[in-house]
């Protein structure tokens, strides 16, 4: 037999349920714009019924409704999707902005970039060729060469600046990730703790989702939750893994969930540490603050970390392209390191490094960089190799075949320096310069016009010619401060007096008895002016075919580099567009599931309000009934 007051109790539950409903609506409306918020709905269920009477009366009377839980509406599937695409979006964003910056630095097409400086350079030579004895033409060649090297230096310096900016951004990002991981681990502990106490920490779950969404901006990750039942309640152990070089690595270990908010929490077992200047990031145990070679490196992740790593590699690649350009401009040469030289380990296989020949100090055989690293037992440190001082380095780029426009006088200096240069006089066989000189009787003192020379580049060609001071001097040299390093875009300079610049190939004796160039002989200058179209061999700038060589002029090569940059930027732009629209779409779907609809909340508000009113009406009715009963008794 149910109590007299059962109805009052039932109506009270109705009031409570409606109250909870109104509270939830209010909570939802308040958080309509809160990031990471998942709308909540009141999970209402019928209370169990009571038997109406005794003695075989099986009728049951209901006891009203109860709130089972306040449920968060969200989809794990969409969350995972969102995080994966968000990571890809942020990666694409970083790469896009880096490539935009590189485009800005290279500044092509424009009238102030490398391409224009190169064309001015060749034109200055051409002008000198027509007016070889004119001091101003000679000075303008030097000026044009200086402009070209300054543009190259500046571009290379801006690229290194960009490189170091990217490195510091990467470092900030890694700090950010570590801080987020720490927060996620600590929130997961609190969630488990509350769950274990039988509570439902919706706010903390929202907070963790928001943190995970934030984390997806920096890197992609995998999460898993495994329920553990103990003492009648169930809580979830939350784990997070990142992809390492040899498989997934646990960062937050759910089995270490300790319900405390330790600092750092015990469930946070690893964190990220930057391993090298080239942007490698290692996953190291939380107890350690530096990466060792045995630690796995973070690989194949999306997010800003991957974006910065890709960007660092891109910038390095464009720097290498510029170095190839600078070396090809100057031509082959040898230098001996006066100081140690560090080179990026990631560039060992790429041009121009793989085109250089290294001879160890005191050694005789020249080796490729890879052989040199092996034979000298060099080890990688902080992403770089250090080539010791005293090493002789030969650059090989810039070699070309030219045809003499006028006769070339052979001086004793020419013969001793360039005796092994391959030549082919018109109608003759290919031979070396010294063999040709000795094959004629008396020994030849001049190569005829039309002779084909295979020489190592512009500098060598200039040293074969003559200036008003005699034998010509090389035009391009590495800066004096470069410690004997080979020519790079950053250190290429012009350190030559106009009077040392060779314009011609024939000699005469001046009034004071010195051997000087014939003043009106500009055949060499004209030859160099025509080099704008001179074919050379270049390493392919495209990363997809690193071992191929391209044949073309120096300007063709640079044009190809810019074209490559254009293609890369276009791809980056496209992937940003695609990712933005994907994230937008998934975010819409997420919103569709978890977002607060004001219309819906208002409708619910009305129904809860009316239900509350109705329950109140019932209490009032029961009250009247009971009052009536009392009066009648």
């Amino acid at each position: 037999m149910p109590s007299t007051f059962l109805g009052l109790q039932t109506a009270l539950r109705g009031l409570e349920v409606s109250q909870a409903g109104v509270d939830t609506v209010s909570h939802n409306v308040d958080n309509a714009d809160t990031p990471g918020y998942a709308r909540e709905v009141v999970d209402v269920a019928e209370m169990s019924s009571l038997p109406l009477g005794q003695d075989g009366n099986t009728s049951m009377v209901g006891q009203g409704a109860q709130v089972l839980q306040i449920q968060r509406i969200q989809s794990d599937f969409l969350n995972t999707q969102y995080r994966a695409q968000n990571a890809a979006l942020y990666q694409a964003n970083v790469v896009q902005s880096t490539l935009n910056e590189i485009s800005g630095i290279l500044d092509e097409p424009s009238s102030s970039g490398i391409s224009n400086a190169l064309s001015q350079f060749y034109q200055a030579w051409d002008a000198l060729g027509s007016n070889p004895s004119d001091l101003s033409s000679r000075t303008s060649v030097i000026d044009a060469a200086q402009t070209l090297t300054q543009v190259l230096n500046q571009t290379a310096n801006q690229l290194s600046q960009l490189q170091s900016n990217l490195q510091s951004s990467l470092s900030t990002t890694v700090d950010q990730v570590n801080s987020l991981l720490d927060q996620i681990a600590s929130v997961s502990n609190q969630i488990a703790k509350l769950q274990q106490m039988g509570e439902q920490p919706n706010d903390l779950l929202d907070k963790r989702d928001a943190l995970l969404n934030q984390l997806s901006q920096y890197t992609s990750f995998q999460t898993s939750e495994s329920p553990v039942t103990s003492g009648g309640t169930t809580y979830e152990q939350f784990s997070l893994t990142l992809m390492g070089s040899s498989g997934p690595v646990t960062i937050i270990d759910g089995s270490q969930t300790d319900f405390t908010n330790n600092d750092p929490p015990a469930n946070l077992v690893s964190h990220l540490v930057i391993a090298s200047d080239t942007g490698a990031v290692s996953i190291v145990p939380i107890s350690s603050n530096s990466a060792s070679s045995s630690d796995p490196t973070l690989t194949g992740q999306g997010g800003e970390i991957q974006g910065y790593q890709d960007s660092i590699a891109d910038v390095q690649a464009y720097q290498n392209d510029l170095d190839v350009f600078a070396q090809s401009l100057a031509g082959a040469g040898t230098t001996t390191l006066r100081a140690d030289w560090t080179i990026p380990a990631s560039a060992v296989d790429s041009p121009p490094y793989n085109t250089m020949k290294f001879t160890p100090s005191g050694g005789t055989a020249s080796e490729t960089l890879e052989q040199f690293i092996q034979s000298q037992g060099l080890t990688e440190s902080n992403g770089t190799y250090t080539i010791p001082a005293g090493t002789q380095i030969a650059t090989t780029l810039g070699a070309m075949t030219v045809t003499l426009l006028g006769p070339l006088d052979i001086s004793s200096a020419t013969l001793s320096n360039y005796g092994s240069v391959k030549i082919q006089v018109p109608g003759g066989q290919e031979t070396t310069l010294s063999a040709y000189v000795n094959s004629t009787n008396p020994p030849a003192t001049q190569l005829p016009a039309g002779t084909i020379l295979q020489i190592g580049g512009l500098n060598q060609l200039l040293m074969l010619g003559f200036s008003e001071n005699g034998q010509g001097q090389p035009l391009f040299t590495p800066a004096a401060t470069s410690g004997g390093q080979p020519i790079t875009a950053a250190n290429i300079t012009v350190a030559i007096q106009p009077s040392d610049l060779a314009a011609g190939t024939t000699l005469t004796t001046d009034s004071s008895g010195n051997t000087v160039a014939v003043s009106g002989d500009g055949t060499l200058a004209t030859l160099i002016g025509n080099m704008a179209n001179q074919q050379m061999q270049f390493p392919n700038p495209s990363p997809s075919a690193p071992n191929e060589t391209l044949t073309g002029s120096l300007s063709n090569y640079f044009t190809a580099v810019v074209g490559q940059l254009g293609l890369q930027s276009q791809q980056a732009n496209n992937s940003v567009n695609v990712q933005t629209s994907l994230v937008q779409q998934i975010s819409n779907q997420q919103q569709s599931v978890s977002g607060v609809s004001l219309d819906e909340e208002m409708t619910k508000l009305i129904s809860y309000q009316q239900a509350y009113n109705a329950s109140a009406e019932i209490i009032s009715a029961i009250n009247t009934m009971l009052t009536q009963l009392m009066q009648n008794v």
Binding site: A32, D33, N100, S103, E108, P109, S115, N116, L118, S119, Q120, Y122, D126, A127, G129, S130, P132, S133, L405, G406, P407, G504, T506, T508, V518, S519, G520, D521, G522, T526, G529, N530, A532, S555, F558, T559, A560, V562, G563, Q564, L565, G566, L567, Q568, S569, Q570, A572, S581, Q584, S587, N588, Q591, S592, G595, V596, S597, L598, M602, T603, I606
Partner: protein, 312 residues
């Protein structure tokens, strides 16, 4: 699909941002007048633009070279005409001197004029253009003929002072006219005035004429007429060659101008924005942008809240 206010606002934002991006791109095109402002705008096109720009720079240089070559060669040619005038005058004097009726004082007068012609010829041999000697091949810095000889009578010059004995530089100063075409803009003195000590060396012939007239040797003067003719023939021939070079320079200049025009045309095809298209697109995009802003402004504040009155 359940639609929420958050979805509406983020979608409106996304769309407006897309419109703005298109607007910004079109505005850049409209304000620079260029279709390619960054390599990524057209990776293939940018390579063409760079190649064409380089080619255009060179075409300008070559045009300038052709102009310079023409003016220098015209100067060379006019100097050559002058040299021929001297030789014709010498021939007239020789015809006069070959006449046996001329008295010895007449002959002396003729010889004195030939002496003047000789000095003038030496001066012509040392002609300079822009400070550079035009008859010394590639060695433009040095005078081909002894400078003092211009102030001496033919009888006084001998040994190293004798222009007739000078071997001039045989090189060439070349002017680059583009596409591998180079033309010489100086002449070797020996080529134009004749080889040293040969019978058709202008200085030698004038010198011999001078001494024949001086000594009143009518027969010798008569004999020299042939040599004078052969000197004039040679000079004519060399000058004709120079004329041909001027023509070539002119032709190359025309060619380079044509080429520069066609490259400019190609560059414009690749690089210039199609203004009609850009402006039309700009108009339509700004209309869309305006519409999306207005619709956003009207649709976003809408919800049931607007229609619920207090106390309902």
């Amino acid at each position: 699909m359940r639609i929420t206010q958050g979805m509406l606002s983020s979608q409106v934002l996304y769309d407006i941002e897309n419109n703005l991006q298109q607007l910004s791109r079109l505005e850049t095109e409209a304000s620079t007048g260029k279709r390619i402002n960054q390599p990524s705008d057209d990776p293939i096109g940018v390579q063409n633009v760079m190649t064409y720009q380089m080619e255009m720079n060179f075409d300008k240089e070559y045009q300038q070279n052709a102009t310079n070559a023409q003016s220098q060669l015209n100067f060379v040619s006019s100097v050559m005409t002058e040299a021929q005038n001297i030789m014709s005058r010498a021939r007239d004097l020789a015809v006069e001197g070959a006449n046996s009726t001329e008295t010895s004082s007449d002959m002396q007068a003729l010889a004195s004029e030939v002496g003047q012609l000789y000095d003038q010829m030496v001066t012509i041999g040392n002609s300079q253009y822009n400070g550079l000697y035009i008859f010394n091949g590639a060695n433009t810095g040095a005078a081909p003929y002894p400078l003092q000889a211009a102030n001496l009578s033919p009888g006084q010059v001998s040994g190293s002072l004798d222009p007739a004995q000078v071997a001039t530089n045989s090189g060439q100063v070349l002017m680059d006219l583009g596409n591998g075409v180079t033309i010489p803009i100086t002449v070797s003195g020996n080529q134009f005035f004749g080889n040293p000590a040969s019978s058709n060396n202008a200085f030698q012939v004038l010198s011999e004429l001078y001494s024949a007239l001086n000594s009143g040797d009518h027969t010798q003067v008569d004999n020299l007429l042939n040599s004078i003719d052969s000197v004039i023939d040679n000079m004519n021939q060399v000058q004709a060659g120079v004329g041909a070079l001027v023509n070539r320079a002119q032709m190359m200049q025309t060619r380079m101008t044509d080429l520069a025009n066609s490259v400019t045309q190609q560059l414009s095809n690749v690089d210039d924005a199609d203004m009609a298209k850009v402006l039309t697109n700009l108009n339509s995009i700004s209309a869309v942008e305006q519409a999306s802003l207005e619709v956003g402004a009207q649709a976003l504040p809408m919800s049931l809240v607007n229609f619920l009155k207090p106390g309902v």
